[in-house]
Every structure is written in structure tokens, then in C-alpha cells.
Symmetry: C2
Subunit: 456 residues, 2 copies
């Protein structure tokens, strides 16, 4: 009789695991059932802001693979609108509810993949009975927000609460839709994923396209009119709003796992080993936005919900379930974002992370250009490096530039991944031609400056 694999969560991590397991094991050997609470499988949540802005016209462009594809090409039985309500590890069963009809189904498993993802933080003030307040995590969230934008309401004044990636991307998307946009940030500055000196460049760019940035403000409540939001109440008075977007980050969906006794780590996400197995449970695997993983620079467990990690982790779990061998060796915190034509890349530790992890370090900032200075279209590019003192080991890097800048972070990410010192980096053989770089690549200029700062 075929073994049974149950996957909880039909997005990137879960379906990558299912597909990889299928590549190695036939339907006669392994039956695969995937439960997905929502209406869609395997879509690009990261693309939602661009669908909201209109840059990506059709919702379905964001869907990588639909359930029919999984069924027909991979013999994976995807059950949409099915919410798993309980995992019974002793009986090797999951209990799910059909959200369309309310029926309860029980499915036995030999192997379980837990890939429930994460949900947007929704503080108490963001009452669910007030219309016009949206998270941006699932395609359903995006659809609701688009309906609000296109519906009778025709909102004109948006408040985005929280200045992380999604908040910043949504602020820009709503500007592109013609709304007035205020970004409210509790801290001194939005874009705290980079150091304040680098974030300031991004903030200038956002102001440049018309985003009003209010910092140091706590949101205390909502004002409503006829059941619809009319203002966001803050520690510094109300801000009129007929649309509110929550950009306060996400929390891993671990409730189900916790109830089943699976271990949650210090980051608040599920613990897994290097092969994406949940420790202490037999044949239970987990992947994606619900798990924590090793930060290879700080050595600490972190929760970094990103589609790229979810896909890799799901693939690793699936290879292992399929009888192969793969590991997920951790992350280094690489991220890129486009903000109002400004390109931002980061990897490794920020100054505050490096300090928190107990490192001694130097940090340097250099101004250079993306092309040879004399080449048409040459634009400024700022590179920041953080290096351990006295070893010179790279700890983190950030890039802000106007074009062809963000993906330059990859070279630094690979250097960081390999534990390079800034001394070694000065010799790196990087590509040079006038349309792409000054003869001293900005990365090399920064490495040289870091060597100087180390007093070499």
C-alpha cells in the first residue's frame, strides 16, 4: 500500500516539498494530499503590491501553479478551502474542515509537512468590524484591497501603518494609484531593515514621490463613519484615512503545531533541523514562513519570512522525504527592494545586529557610481560594509543606488556566505566594463575603505 504524505499549506514551501517528493517517488509509492485554507496555490505574495498598483494587471499572473497542474502533472491532491484544525501525532491523523461546506475530514499520514506560513500582525486597534483596513499577505488580502480601491468607496487618503518592506512597497503602490499616502512609523525611521544612514536615502526618495512620512507615532485606534474607517488615531492626533494598510510584519502560524506539541524556537517560529525535520517528532517536516532557521553570521535562530527561503526549504524537505539527501544551511539576511526607483540591497548584519551579537566591528560608507563616471546614465551608488575587528571578516553590507544597484548585493552576499575578509575582497575579480562599473567596482572601493578603517 502506498504511504501517505499530508501537506498543510499549499503555497511555496508546501508545494515545493510536495513536488520534490513526487519527483522521487511515484503515486504508487506515495500518495500526496495538500490542504490549503485559501483559494489559491503557489502564488507570489511578493507580487501583490505590484498587482495593487496596476503594474501587474492580472491577478492570475501571480499564480505560479494552480491545483489542476498539481493534480494532472504531479498527481498531488490539493484541497483548497480546507483548514486543518488539528494534528494528532499519536494517531498519525490530521483533522481538516471544509470551509465551503463545513464538513470535517480526517486523513491519515505517514509523513507530514507543516507549511502553514505566517499572518500579518493585526493589533487590537485594527478592529475587524471596521471596513477599509487591510493586511497584505495572501492573494485574498490583495483581492479585498483591490475591491476596496476599485469599488464605490473610491478611497483618496491612505494610511500605511509600519515602514517595513511591505509598508514601503504599498505606500508606493498607492501613490501610483493616485491616492494621498501617509506612512506612519513608530520608530524614528521607516526601512529599519537597513542602518539609519542608508534608510535616510530611501526616505528621501519616498518623500520625493509624495509619501508623507510620520515617525515616532503610536497608532491608538481608528475613527469610523458608517462602519468604515475615516481616520487613524495616533499619539499625535488623528490622520484622515479612508484606507488603512497594515505593514506591521507577520507572525508565524504555529498554533496548530504548538497544540500538537511540536517545538517552537526562541524566534517564535517552529524549530527544524538542517534537513527541515521537526526535532522530536517522527516523519514531521516543516518549511517556509512558519519556521525559524540559522543566521549564519550571528549564529542565532531567526524568523525571516521570504518566498526564496520558503521555496528552498520546501525543496530540501521534499528531497529528503523522497529519499534523497539535502540540507538547508541557513540564511544570511539578504534582501532587495525597489522603492520609488531607488534600489536597495542588504545582506548580513546591520550595525545594531552586529552589536547585539557581541561583535566588535568597523563600518564604512562609500559613494561611487553604477557605471564609469563618464558613461551616460551613470548614477550614484552608496555601499556600506560592516567588518569584524580585528579579523576583517565581513559581517554585513548594504547598497542604495538609483539603477542597476540592488542585485549588486549578491556578490557581497556570496562573499559573506563564504566568510571572506574585507582584505581578501579587495582582490576579487569582478566584472568591469564602462557601462557597468567604474574601473574600481563600488564593492572593491568599499572593501578598500574597510581595510583602511581596520588600520591595516
Amino acid at each position: 500500500m502506498a504511504e501517505r504524505l499530508i501537506v498543510i499549506g499549499g503555497d511555496a514551501a508546501g508545494m515545493a516539498a510536495a513536488s520534490q517528493a513526487r519527483r522521487r517517488r511515484s503515486p504508487d509509492d506515495l500518495k500526496i494530499v495538500a490542504f490549503e485554507r485559501g483559494r489559491f496555490t503557489s502564488y507570489s505574495a511578493c507580487g501583490i503590491p505590484y498587482w495593487i498598483s496596476g503594474l501587474v494587471p492580472q491577478r492570475d499572473q501571480l499564480i505560479a501553479r494552480d491545483p489542476a497542474t498539481f493534480r494532472d502533472r504531479f498527481a498531488i491532491d490539493v484541497r483548497l478551502r480546507h483548514e486543518v484544525t488539528r494534528i494528532d501525532l499519536d494517531r498519525r491523523e490530521v483533522i481538516a474542515r471544509d470551509l465551503t461546506g463545513g464538513d470535517e475530514v480526517r486523513e491519515r499520514f505517514d509523513t507530514l509537512v507543516y507549511a502553514t506560513g505566517a499572518h500579518p500582525v493585526r493589533p487590537a486597534w485594527a478592529r475587524s468590524d471596521v471596513l477599509g483596513v487591510f493586511g497584505v499577505q495572501t492573494l485574498e488580502d490583495g483581492a479585498a484591497l483591490r475591491d476596496w480601491l476599485d469599488g464605490d468607496t473610491r478611497p483618496r487618503q491612505a494610511v500605511v501603518v509600519g515602514g517595513g518592506y511591505i509598508g514601503v512597497e504599498m505606500a508606493e503602490a498607492l501613490i501610483q494609484r493616485g491616492l494621498e499616502v501617509t506612512l506612519v512609523e513608530k520608530a524614528k525611521q521607516p526601512m529599519s531593515t537597513v542602518d539609519p544612514d542608508m534608510a535616510e536615502l530611501v526616505n528621501d526618495a519616498m518623500r520625493g514621490v509624495g509619501v508623507r512620512i510620520r515617525t515616532g507615532l503610536a497608532v491608538t485606534g481608528l475613527q469610523e463613519r458608517d462602519g468604515r474607517v475615516s481616520a487613524v488615531l495616533t499619539s499625535d492626533g488623528p490622520i484622515p484615512a479612508d484606507l488603512v494598510v497594515l505593514g506591521l510584519g507577520v507572525r508565524p502560524n504555529v498554533e496548530l503545531a504548538e497544540a500538537a506539541g511540536l517545538p517552537v524556537g526562541p524566534s517564535g517560529a517552529l524549530r527544524v533541523d538542517r534537513r527541515m525535520r521537526v526535532p522530536g517528532a517522527d516523519d514531521v517536516w516543516a518549511a517556509g514562513d512558519c519556521v525559524e532557521c540559522l543566521h549564519r553570521v550571528s549564529g542565532m535562530p531567526v524568523h525571516i519570512p521570504l518566498g526564496t527561503h520558503a521555496n528552498k526549504q520546501g525543496r530540501v524537505a521534499g528531497i529528503n522525504i523522497g529519499g534523497g539527501y539535502a540540507t538547508f544551511p541557513g540564511v544570511i539576511g539578504t534582501a532587495v527592494i525597489k522603492v520609488c526607483d531607488l534600489e536597495v540591497g542588504r545582506t548580513g548584519l546591520r550595525e545594531q545586529d552586529a552589536a547585539a551579537a557581541g561583535f566588535e566591528f568597523v563600518s564604512v560608507i562609500t559613494e561611487s557610481t553604477n557605471r564609469a563616471g563618464y558613461f551616460p546614465g551613470s548614477r550614484p551608488m552608496t555601499v556600506k560594509l560592516i567588518a569584524e575587528r580585528p579579523t576583517g571578516r565581513l559581517l554585513g553590507a548594504q547598497i542604495v543606488g538609483w539603477s542597476e544597484a540592488a542585485k549588486r548585493i549578491d556578490a557581497l552576499a556570496v562573499a559573506l556566505w563564504n566568510g571572506m575578509t574585507v582584505d581578501d575582497m579587495t582582490a576579487l575579480d569582478l566584472g568591469y566594463a564602462p557601462p557597468y562599473s567604474p574601473v574600481w567596482d563600488p564593492v572593491l572601493i568599499a572593501a578598500r575603505k574597510a581595510v583602511d578603517a581596520l588600520g591595516r
Copy 2:
């Protein structure tokens, strides 16, 4: 009394060495004299095609630092139009000729930097008494070519001989100037710096902008009319031409060094140690297009004349002369080029190099996109990886794409530099956001395919 440093060659390598030595040693401690045969110091030879095309309007934009700057800011005595004719290692003297007046000067040195660069290959058929035939190596070459383009001659039909980087760039530049351009290549294909399958993409792009490509042709001579070139004679008949550009590569200028008994290596360029010292000679250093260096992947000495290496090598020599410690650990053959809006990057070994070096290997080609497939402006991007069998160590990589593609090679170059395997590379934490990459970065897709090809 101050020691004396003589630098032969006032371009990137020589002046980088001089500047770095000056940073560490004051004029009271070290007197620095640089002899330069030409009229300029420290300019971007790589920018010449863009000055020819008109994209870079002014010649002086290509000059990084002029002699007055070196004199006033660095106390370096640059003597333009002075050609060193002999090095006397026993007497510790160089003998130079003032090309403007013909006087001979002798200068004593304690330390010598040999940075004479390279010269374009000029075959016997390219007779110097026929007007309209140009190399593109020095700013003087560029000026002569521009004068020819803008003068009474008004050439209309150009033949570029040789399909390396400079040939390809010049073909495009001359198309932009409105000329008919034929590129003549002896081999089966131009752009042999990448493998034939990748070069074919470039050739298509060149044909797309109107470059006529003739391959498998040997040039046998020139036809002239009134002392000016009128056709290029080939093994397949004459090709009308009122302008001929030589793109047959360059040879290191080693004659002076050889005459002084300095060692030339198997690549035909000067041998140096890791600190850029010439072995067997006291206090003689060399750097730039006249030296060979270690290819870190093949382990063989190579001659790769590129401004980026010249600058790094000069800097290393200068630091050491200044009393510091620096090494140049070799190259891995990274290069990027823009051809008719097509972007090309390469690093490491091509298939033929890998075979010649005795490696067993697999190679894979993947098609992906520079942005998420659904994101506006998403364009094809082809990535090729060559990996050692059975270790999986990356040996080489090539990228061809339509935009934001070339500099992606840097991430692969850093992976190669660190000896990563394609297995390890599948886990790399590279930047992901829809404007910059599919959720599986093209580099990661290629690494996965290489792992499959290795039969893992």
C-alpha cells in the same frame, strides 16, 4: 638623501603604483619620476569605443588624472612623451628619449616599476604606409580614428578585423556612427571569450543591429587607392573598406624588460611574484597589461590585459614599495561586455579551457528571466555553468541577457573565487524581489540543473 622610484608607463598600473607608494612615503623619503611615451596619463582605454561612437562626447572625460594632478597632489614627476629605451640594471639607470626634442635623459633609480602595457597586434598585411587602418589601444589611437571619421575622408564602409571584445565594441560603435560595418573573424565565430552556444546569442544581436559577420576568413592584404585603404583582401575575396579597425588582441610590451634580462613567462608576458616583484631582480616591480598572473581555476599563468587588474596590481606594487604588505592573488577571468544592448558576463573557464586544463566536467544551460516572469520589463537571461565532475566545484560561468544581466556574473565570480560547489550554491541566500529576480534566482536555477547533471 631621498630614494628614487622610476616608473616606466604612466597609465593605470604605473600611476596606481606611484600613488600608493606616495601615500606611504613622503617626497623627502622617496622621489618619484614616471616616464610616459604618450601624451596622457591614467585614462580609460576601455572607454575609447564609446568616445568613438559619440556616447561619451569629450576625450578628456576618459582621463582619470592628468599630469598636473599627479605633480601637485602627489608630488610625482610625470614626463610625458618620454620613451624609455633601455634599462641598465647594473648601473640602476633608465635611459629615456624625449620624443618632442630627441634628447636622451638618464635617471638613476633605487626602485623600478615596469608598467609598459601592451600594444595591439598588427599583422604584416596591415601596412603602416596605408592610411585608414587603426588599432584601438591608446587615447592617441582613438584620436586618430576619430579624426579619420570626422575628416574629409568621411568613411562609409568599415571592416573590423577580429571579433574579441574590442572588435565587437568597435563594430557597434561604428554602426552607431552610421557606417556599414563588416566584422571579419578567422574562427567559426566571433566572441570566442564565451562558449559557442553563448556566443551565438551575441552574434544574433550584432546581426540584429546590422553588423555583417564574416567568419572563417583569413585577411591576406589591403587594397589601396591614393595611399588610402579601399578594401580588405581575404581568402574569400575583397571586402570594400575605407576604414579598417584592428581588433586582433594585444601583446605585452616586454621588449625593454627582455633586453634587460627580466624573465618572460609562458604566456609571453613578464613574470612577477605574488607581491608584483619581478623574480631575480632587486627592487624591480611590474604591473598591468605587460605582466602575466595566476589563473586561480586552471592554476596556469595567463595574460589578461584589463584595466581592473592593472589598477589592482599597481596598487599592490605601490603598497609594497611603500613599505606595506599586499599581494595579488591572481584572476579568474571575469569579464563583462555590452553588445548592442545585449549584456554578457563570464568568469572562470570556458568548456575548451576546462578540457585543456585537464578537468572532467559537466555543463548546463538554463533559460530564465532577469525579473519575475510577470513583472513588466522581464527579459530572457541565459546562464551557463561548468562544474567539475565528480566534485561539483564550479569551474566557469557565463551569462547572456537583455538587461540587468552582465553584473550578475559577480555573484558567480565570488562563488568561483571561493571554490564553491554547485551543490553548495543551490542554498545561496541571494536577493529576491519581483523587480529583480524570479523567486528562484537564475543563478540558483542553473546551480540546481548542474547538480542534476552531476547525477546527484
